[in-house]
């Protein structure tokens, strides 16, 4: 079992998944990638990662719904959640916190911004 933090990345855009996973690996994290909300919920429950990075707009369940469901089950109630939003308004941010997310990042984000948020939530190096 690796002692590196495991981070679940859920986004239906493969390029963004690859970008985030690339950055996580540079931070010495294990990245597990899925492409929809239902799969994100299943993997988060099964793996109990150290962090879940969820896109807001995903098929099956959106990032808000996945966050709410994670908070509702004992096994994942304390899992740190970072939401990615491409919306320009503040309403997504308010809904993110209302759903139980720990933090959010607006798209497009810089590698430094993502690194800082991940580090704050899992204490990963780099």
């Amino acid at each position: 079992m690796s002692d590196r933090p495991t981070v679940l990345v859920a986004d239906d855009d493969a390029d963004i998944c690859e970008l985030v996973a690339f950055r996580l690996r540079r931070m010495s994290c294990e990245a597990v990638v899925v492409n929809d909300g239902a799969e994100a919920l299943r993997m988060a429950t099964e793996l109990r990662p150290d962090l879940a990075i969820l896109d807001v707009m995903m098929p099956e369940h959106d990032g808000f719904e996945v966050t709410r469901r994670l908070r509702a089950q004992d096994r994942t109630a304390d899992l740190p959640v970072l939401l990615l939003t491409a919306r320009s308004s503040d309403s997504d941010v308010e809904e993110a916190f209302a759903a139980g997310a720990n933090d959010y990042v607006r798209k497009p984000f810089s590698p430094q911004e993502l690194t800082a948020r991940v580090r704050a939530l899992v204490g990963a190096d780099r």
Binding site: D13, I16, L19, F22, R87, P108
Partner: protein, 284 residues
């Protein structure tokens, strides 16, 4: 290198397509033929459409900007000086697309009466200092000087205020004469925080057959008109400043340069109030 050229061309095409779209939407009139979720007027429809467009553009931009940043950071291998320059140019182009779509949404929201912010007390000084600090002078011979007090608190949205100042200082740097300078001053007078952003002028173009006075008059009119809708960037800035209960105006001439002034009521100002048609009117 051909891939970089293709990326630059793609970014430029996106900028031009968005400009054309904006012009079409601005010139469209009458009743909308289709309805987007609750839109009841042309302004509502335009605002809804631009919100949707913003989301759709931000997603591919996340990949574009993200991978360019990785290259600039050397995470994808060491770049030569020329490659570094090319990637930096492409990155700036991507930033312009993002700026453009952000400005489009702000202006559309303002026109539809949706633009509102939840104000909190914000110290304007570090925000202005940061805008001056991060202004991109990497490819232009322009210096940025500041004259700032210790603290000036205003009731505003910190993210929108930061975006506003970065936009205005960045614009001044882009428009300054090569070898010139941008001065950023912040003063507090009579319940108002006044930020002045001044840049040295560009030399007049040498145009055979055109009288110097005609050129000067035309350039002076362009400066005077700039704040009143001459540019999307300034129209967006003006809408944000007015949502804070402040005002934005410009003055200058092509020899001495241009000065943009942003006045925002301070936290203890009796004049400050959220405009009635905007308070709590956030669409979402």
């Amino acid at each position: 290198m051909s891939e970089l050229k293709r990326l630059e061309d793609e970014v430029q095409e996106q900028i031009e397509a968005l400009e054309r779209l904006r012009e079409r939407l601005a010139s469209a009139g009458g009743e909308p033929r289709t309805a987007i979720a609750g839109a009841t007027s042309h302004a509502d429809l335009e605002g809804e459409f631009l919100e949707l467009l913003s989301h759709e553009v931000r997603t591919p931009l996340t990949s574009t900007i993200g991978y360019l940043d990785l290259m600039l950071a050397g995470d994808a291998g060491e770049l030569t000086g020329e490659q570094q320059h090319c990637v930096a140019v492409a990155r700036r182009g991507a930033s312009r697309v993002l700026q453009l779509i952000t400005d489009l949404v702000v202006v559309a929201r303002s026109e539809a009466g949706w633009l509102s912010f939840a104000p909190q007390m914000v110290d304007l000084v570090p925000i202005v200092a940061e805008a001056a600090e991060i202004a991109d002078t990497s490819t232009v011979d322009v210096s940025v000087d500041t004259d700032l007090p210790s603290a000036v608190e205003v009731p505003a949205d910190p993210d929108a205020l930061r975006h506003l100042m970065i936009s205005l200082v960045g614009r001044a740097v882009r428009q300054a004469r090569p070898g010139g300078e941008v001065e950023v001053r912040l003063t507090r007078t009579g319940g108002q925080a006044l930020t002045e952003i001044e840049h040295s002028g560009r030399p007049l173009p040498h145009s055979e057959g055109a009288a110097l006075s005609d050129i000067m008059a035309r350039e002076a009119r362009a400066v005077a008109d700039a704040v009143e809708g001459g540019g999307l960037e300034l129209a967006s800035a003006k809408a944000v400043v007015e949502a804070f209960g402040g005002r934005l105006w410009g003055a200058g001439d092509p020899y001495d340069g241009t000065r943009l002034s942003v006045e925002i009521p301070t936290a203890d100002s009796e004049e400050w109030s959220v405009p009635a048609n905007r308070a709590g009117a956030d669409h979402e």
